[in-house]
Assembly symmetry: C2
Homo-oligomer: 316 residues x 2
């Protein structure tokens, strides 16, 4: 999950709020350090966990200052460095970075559909993002989100159900490094965005469901609350006003109500953007509960007699 | 956590319900197997996880049948055994058990108090159990519960708070093998049980809070719901009718309302009663949230102007 302009501060969870409140040290640290005359910038990894794993993530430069080297170091390394400096020791630090900026290459969103039985042109989008940082495996960020979306539709099919409207699974590409897949989806589907009735994103890990957050207006919110109440067995009965997701965010301009899947997040930043984000960190039951919760919400929304009320949307 | 007479079926969580619905295969398997002429009884470990760790736990014999050897085997071993039998293979199984029934030995509950400022004779009990199975370390079952109780009172003290009533931390002994500590507490404190205003037990692991369950009557339940609503930041805002805890269960006879701390339980039976129940399986933030939630509930209950309404209680 990337943070541009701190959208996650709108999320209700404490861990995401903490991350959202601190991540500018990584994303803008090199700018401020260069302004202060630094030759390089280090940042303490964005995690609550004390260990030896650095957590990577996006950062940016500003045209008006030098592009100095920047790196994240592990929390233990940062503590050690800070302690030495606090003791007044003279610290020499050598930085060897292998990262480069590669030229753009073509990549693709991956899309599949369960066509609606009565209103196949009305679309409920559900997705996660297909790309991940080059450390770890991206199992929680955002393999879990992709599996949630795919498995939710499989569960609906396995029950022999086919809702009135089409459910479209979208694995968005390039979320971590520019959200080109999100922009590409918006552009490619511009002609049918008025018939997108909801978009749901899972990009907060594969942990036990807590519920959903949404930017839906009061009437749609009330309907979503009623639907989510059915999801008590999957621990997902709560719907709160809040953030939808980075990849579906452009759809808000077309008035599409956005919903973010909200799992327990206490362990998310333990693994996020690090070598620890591997399959072993995903708990099968927790992942399955998330898919079940999402399946329930998707099915009911896609099968409603009348579509959920849309948001106003921006003039385009 | 032991299961006598399946009290956990009353718990609202799916994992505990699943455990409660299956555990008679372990607790009574040897009785039924002996009746059918078996020379020994094996049980598939009581866990949703597929791995190589057997999960132990209490079992019993019946006076009218032979006391045959009984053992739990890992889920993978059970699957392998079942597959071989299903293929019609002739299976020879050698059982070597080192377990014995030792004579009783004296042990103790461990008790500490934060004395109330105005009504020190009125008592709110909070506790977990000090004993654990001989596999693993008992980190979740029930080290976490003991730490919850102790840390909750430390948090209250650290804030410079002293509620009107006494908060009594009780680490109960012998929960896993007879609940003698629970019975001992009841007997030793019989004279003051009328002044016990609430008892809270944490014995479901150190995971992220989900809320509480209680046997309190409608009026006390409503008050507890109001108090728990304050605990939304610790994800513990929900109170459901349900189970309190094995160690505090005897106090119900004296009309003391019981409250069980209810954490996320998806991972609990991964580790429960096995070599995997070790400190590394406890997540520091999740544990701390539980202590915070319990501290909040305890403090408000102990500081209420009027004590919570009691339950009717049984004639003694």
């Amino acid at each position: 999950m990337v943070l541009f302009d701190r959208p996650l501060e709108r999320a209700s969870s404490d861990c995401f709020s903490a991350y959202g409140g601190a991540v500018d040290q990584r994303s803008e640290g090199a700018i401020h350090a260069a302004r202060a005359g630094a030759v390089a910038a280090l940042v303490r990894s964005m995690t609550m966990r004390l260990d030896d794993f650095p957590h990577t993530g996006s950062m940016r430069y500003s045209p008006d200052v030098e592009r100095i080297p920047a790196a994240a170091i592990s929390t233990r390394a940062a503590d050690e460095l800070a302690a030495r400096l606090a003791r007044g020791e003279s610290v020499r630090l050598a930085l060897q970075l292998g990262c480069r900026w590669h030229p753009d290459a073509t990549s693709h969103n991956v899309i599949g559909e369960l066509r609606g039985s009565e209103l196949p042109d009305e679309i409920v989008v559900v997705g996660g993002h297909l790309d991940a940082w080059d450390v770890g495996q991206g199992a929680h960020d955002d393999g879990a989100g992709c599996v949630h979306a795919l498995e939710a539709v499989r569960l609906i099919r396995a029950r022999g159900l086919r809702p009135r409207r089409t459910i479209r699974v979208v694995f968005f590409m390039n979320e971590e490094n520019g959200t080109r897949g999100a922009a590409g989806y918006f552009d490619a589907h511009r002609g049918e965005l008025e018939r997108h009735v909801l978009a749901l994103e899972s990009d907060a890990g594969g942990f036990t469901p807590r519920g959903f957050s949404t930017d839906a207006g009061p009437e749609a919110l009330a309907a979503l609350e009623e639907i989510a109440a059915l999801l008590e067995p999957a621990s997902a009965a709560s719907v709160r006003p809040g953030w939808g997701g980075v990849d579906i965010a452009p759809l808000a301009r077309a008035g599409v109500p956005l919903v973010g899947f909200r799992p327990d997040d206490e362990r998310y930043f333990d693994v996020h953007h690090s070598d620890r984000d591997v399959l072993e960190a995903v708990h099968p039951r927790e992942l399955a509960l998330g898919a079940g919760a999402i399946a329930g919400l998707l099915y009911v929304v896609a099968d409603l007699p009348d579509a959920l009320p849309r948001n106003p949307g921006d003039a385009r």
